[in-house]
Symmetry: C2
Subunit: 337 residues, 2 copies
């Protein structure tokens, strides 16, 4: 690839002059300007951003580190972040940490040595010493979807508490008196928020909570099937189930079907997050959607602000979830099975 020296010599000017016409920060005579531009075109010269960055101390590049690119939560989040980045002329690159802390740590180091201007992070777990290290090195980080208690990082996340509360109130308003909670990962703080909102929703709806209303111990289709079936076999059978995620709900739906039970007639269902399959399942699944696009966009704006103003106050942004009421909780919304 051509270097600035080559275009300078071909155009018979100094490299400084080439730099000046390209950057446009210093006036250059039209004659030289045209000569330089012609050579630039002729050679298809593109400045080496590595060299530029070395001087200018910024790369105009942001890294987005995701726990699991397979999770339907993330594509929209990335879209939001990407659009916000492009709007300010930053390049957003995405990395997948595969839900492994060591991988996350390696990625963080790789990003740091490549001097990205900032990082958007959907952390893998509670472990945070490696994150602290890169924060202490001075690279701005904003957390996606959850808050890391220890480090005072900016974060933007959905209001899981309120979302759970709202869905329980909805379920109760449809006449369901006993509403169960299907757990995924009880140790996950996000799920704990959801569970807390559920408990409070029960209370506000004047409904009782008891231990027999809880089931599930990890995520996944199979666990949804297993724990969902167990729940449906309880006597008395709960009228409704709020699942901690859509995967569990899909398994649950399968279990009901195999048991000859119908939803919402026999059991109403609602689930967290709203991957595409919710709308395609039978019955269509009522879901508490996170505003993923907005989370991504907002997080990027905050990151960019912090890059340009490192001392700004740490912020925590909480965005409302959206309740999509569909067949699985509402007999009215078209012919449900």
């Amino acid at each position: 690839m051509a270097t600035i020296r080559e275009v300078a010599s071909r155009a018979s000017v100094s490299v400084g002059t080439v730099s000046n016409v390209l950057s446009g920060t210093v006036p250059v005579s039209t004659r030289l300007r045209d000569r330089v531009l012609a050579v630039v075109r002729e050679l298809d010269y593109q400045p080496n951003q590595l060299a530029q960055s070395l001087k200018s101390r910024h790369t105009k590049m942001i890294g987005m580190v995701l726990r699991d690119i397979t999770d339907p939560l993330f594509p929209q989040m990335m879209r939001g972040a990407k659009d916000a980045a492009w709007a300010r002329n930053y390049l957003l690159v995405m990395l997948d940490s595969d839900a492994k802390v060591e991988r996350e740590q390696q990625i963080l180091v790789a990003l740091r040595t490549r001097r990205v201007d900032g990082i958007l992070l959907a952390p893998t777990g509670p472990e945070e010493s490696h994150i602290r290290a890169v924060r202490d090195a001075g690279v701005p980080i904003v957390c996606l979807g959850r808050e890391l208690p220890g480090l005072g990082l900016d974060c933007v996340l959905a209001d899981n508490y309120k979302g759970a509360h709202q869905s329980v109130v909805h379920l109760a308003s449809m006449g369901n008196r006993s509403i169960a909670f299907l757990h995924g990962d009880r140790a996950d703080p996000v799920e704990q928020e959801r569970f807390a909102g559920y408990r409070r929703g029960l209370q506000d709806a004047g409904l009782a909570f008891e231990a027999s209303l809880e089931a599930g111990s990890h995520s996944g289709l199979d666990e949804g099937y297993r724990a969902g079936a167990a729940l449906a076999k309880r006597n008395p059978r709960p009228n409704a189930i709020l699942a901690a995620d859509a995967m569990l709900a899909a398994g649950l739906l399968r279990a009901l079907r195999d048991m000859g039970l119908r939803s919402p007639a026999d059991i109403a269902i609602a689930a967290f997050d709203d991957p595409f399959c919710c709308d395609v399942l039978r019955p269509r699944l009522t879901a508490v959607a996170q505003p993923s696009y907005e989370i991504g966009a907002k997080a990027m704006e905050i990151l960019l602000s912090r890059i340009h103003e490192p001392e700004r106050r740490r912020s925590k942004t909480v965005l409302d979830t959206i309740l999509h009421i569909r067949e699985s909780s509402s007999p009215l919304s078209s012919a449900a099975t």
Copy 2:
């Protein structure tokens, strides 16, 4: 962040020595070595990869440019590519071109100026002049999932022709005599392969093809619903439908349900690609899956080979698809609706 000069002065050695102990390519006395390493730890010094790359002429970074990160085809592909990259100590970063050529072009330029060592590209469309430009600049590119006719790029893709053929033979073997094809984008070369395989499958199964067996003009749930319903209303009604993608099939399924038709009893269905929802739909969808993980992994291996051996012969790798037979085409596979 600390620079090599800082650690050199703190350790009272020259920067060259620091570099030598860190790279390990030149022997250094234990005394100096320990002193340097101590300071490195103390300062949490990480070499600036920008500067390193400027000298060494490689960034150890690969860009993966995807047409649509929302497409369930891609997460696994990225996993495959990422694992292959890490194994050889390269960093893989992902970019989304949003199915827009201009965006793809901007990303390609951004990647080129940042001097990535190579690019994995799932191109957005037939337009290829901007791709040619970066190839001509000398950056190795391998194409994902399709072949760009004009440029002689390495590519790795699924055998769509054979996959279609196989699924038609399967459908025919289940006793279906008239098998329709539900189109997404007729201009898409990948779909054309699929359609050709379908035609040939019909022929090999001794079945007739006629124009009334074709429907659909673009992709999406709604079009699947619309064109699927049209197909199901034809007289005589086709026994089976092969959908160009799973989204179409989901819409089609919805249409059948609304028409009071059952699958596979009234109409058998198979679809291309195998997003998660295929296994969760009711009935579960028979699908021709692309070996996404393998495509990604293989493509990365080829890219890495080309990086180290630029003159190697151009290669085209075709991987077999996998037919997942499920309820929608096989009454045997559990109680189908």
